[in-house]
């Protein structure tokens, strides 16, 4: 099925896009603020994952004389507490939700809107970030009081971190979208999504800091998008990276956003030709 969506008037396109994003983000904030208890359930469940890693690795660091590969209990604490913020920023329209979107007929309705779904997804989840980050602050304070992180970032590191977490959000949106569009060809994508998530877990720095991985894994991670969505943003704040490495990291993120966007557009153009409406 091919769909011609109405384009925004070219003269005010950027202005219209800006208005759309601010309105959609405000709507997302108001919508998500209604379900504060549900948000906290989600966040507590999410925080459990890094706390487990943190406790295990801190325990090992102590048993090994205080540190592993330069990571002390304090730096592990900093890594995994910053991890929780980066994880929040990495919440995007995930691959498995594409199945729901197609099966329930939502996409049929979305196609009638004047812009592609990517804009709606980006704006909605970007707005949601403001809610989750506000709710994350007390959790981060609590974790800091319990685990005593060692964190002493410079102004440059803070600046790069702020850019990097938004870069990570964009990269992850694109690649989750590409994998999610597999649902246009098969309704049995669950195993592929799980495989993708497992690879991301191992090669991104989500499971452990990449320095603890074997050398070949670290080298491989440099050439894949995953590291730039978890490891790099965290290391930019927690690690001791040179200004050159920080800027190179941002450059790599821009590159992966470009590759992701190109891949997303290719996948979308191919996928939409196969789509047959289901209700909506």
């Amino acid at each position: 099925m091919s769909v011609d969506t109405a384009r925004l008037p070219e003269a005010n396109r950027w202005r219209s896009l800006f208005d759309f994003y601010t309105t959609a983000m405000r709507t997302a904030i108001v919508a998500q603020l209604q379900y504060r208890v549900a948000q906290y359930f989600y966040m507590i469940g999410m925080v459990a994952e890094p706390v487990v890693y943190l406790v295990v690795w801190s325990s090992i660091a102590r048993s090994q004389g205080g540190s592993i590969e330069g990571y002390t209990a304090g730096t592990f604490a900093a890594y995994y507490i910053v991890w929780t913020l980066v994880r929040n920023m990495n919440i995007v329209f995930g691959a498995p939700f594409w199945e729901h979107r197609i099966r329930e007929g939502q996409l049929a309705g979305d196609l009638l809107k004047p812009m592609t779904v990517l804009h709606y997804d980006l704006a909605f989840f970007a707005g949601w970030k403001f809610v989750v980050v506000a709710m994350w602050i007390p959790i981060a304070i609590g974790l800091s009081l319990v685990f005593h992180p060692t964190l002493d970032p410079t102004a440059l590191e803070i600046g790069v971190f702020i850019c990097a977490i938004w870069g990570a959000y964009l990269i992850r949106t694109m690649f989750q979208g590409i994998v999610g569009m597999l649902n246009f060809w098969t309704t049995r994508g669950a195993a592929v999504f799980d495989l993708y998530m497992a690879i991301e877990m191992l090669l991104s720095g989500r499971l452990v800091p990449l320095q603890l991985m074997p050398d070949w894994v670290q080298t491989l991670a440099n050439f894949l998008p995953f590291k730039w969505t978890f490891g790099f943003p965290i290391e930019s704040l927690v690690g001791d990276m040179s200004p050159q490495s920080l800027l190179l990291g941002l450059g790599a993120q821009v590159l992966w956003i470009g590759i992701g966007l190109a891949g997303y557009r290719l996948a979308w153009n191919a996928a939409i030709k196969r789509f047959t409406a289901v209700g909506g």
């Binding site: 379900y35 706390v51 487990v52 495989l195 991985m213």
Partner: protein, 261 residues
């Protein structure tokens, strides 16, 4: 007896329904392989930096991982689908159809759904457990096996009670779907022996979310570390939580006014 008959009937219907989707078996096989692979990578990473973790050696932790995967399979096959359906029914107002049936409502909402292909996860957990145990120096005796079986059943009951209590909250807080993420997140703590965690977290995952009773205690039993007092405490806690879950379900029902019909 009536409850068992109802549960058995729903079980048969559920199995027949699931058997229509045989490809899901292979999907589940792949998913279990990925899950176990990730767990094994994490274990090997940890033990590449240390020889033991709070007194647990690698084969023992492999057994613990096996118990966690096994019980996870039981949860995903029998408990979670029913609780998800219950949350959905409350949201959509279709719970009335279950409540008006001439059977115990708690039994009905607890046995309606089954995902039989998750049995693959249970089998994977058993295999991991056996592989782990083959590397443990101490042999597993009959007493250990019986204690393991009892601890596992009590653990499953505890997890069911926790899920039911949380899901009953949907009568007041309609959007409870994130309780799934909450449980999945906290259930990860079961991959490691509860002794690793600091006191506040140890007590939380023992009494608030009973992951320690559900996973660590059976693993202790099968690795000959369990003291009978712990098993007795687990049993008493299971009984108390079951009675509380039953009371809370009925309390919730009294406050439920229905959303359909």
């Amino acid at each position: 007896m009536n409850a068992i008959r109802v549960a058995w009937l729903y079980f048969k219907i559920g199995v027949l329904n699931e058997l229509q989707y045989r490809v899901n078996f292979f999907v589940q096989l792949l998913q279990s392989a990925i899950q176990i692979g990730t767990g094994l990578v994490m274990l090997s990473l940890v033990y590449s930096h240390t020889d033991e973790l709070h007194g647990w050696e690698q084969p023992e932790l492999l057994s613990l991982l096996g118990v966690q995967v096994l019980l996870g399979g039981v949860i995903h096959a029998f408990i979670q689908p029913n609780m998800e359906r219950l949350m959905q029914d409350v949201q959509e107002g279709t719970l009335d159809y279950a409540l008006t049936k001439p059977a115990d409502s708690q039994v009905l909402v607890s046995v309606r759904m089954i995902r039989i292909w998750q049995v693959v996860e249970i089998v994977s957990g058993v295999i991991l457990l056996l592989v782990g145990l083959s590397g443990v120096d101490a042999s597993v005796g009959l007493t250990d096996t019986i204690a393991f079986g009892c601890a596992l059943v009590i653990g499953a009951v505890l997890v069911y009670c926790f899920w039911l209590i949380m899901t009953t909250g949907a009568f007041w807080i309609v959007r409870m779907e994130h309780v799934l993420e909450l449980f999945e997140g906290i259930y990860r703590t079961g991959q490691w022996p509860v002794g690793v965690y600091p006191g506040w977290l140890r007590y939380s995952v023992t009494f608030l979310v009973p992951v320690a009773f559900a996973v660590t205690v059976p693993a202790q039993a099968v690795t000959s570390r369990l003291q009978w007092q712990t098993l007795a405490l687990s049993f008493v806690f299971g009984c108390v939580l079951f009675l509380f879950a039953r009371w809370f379900w009925r309390f919730g029902l009294r406050h439920y006014s229905g959303a359909s019909a």
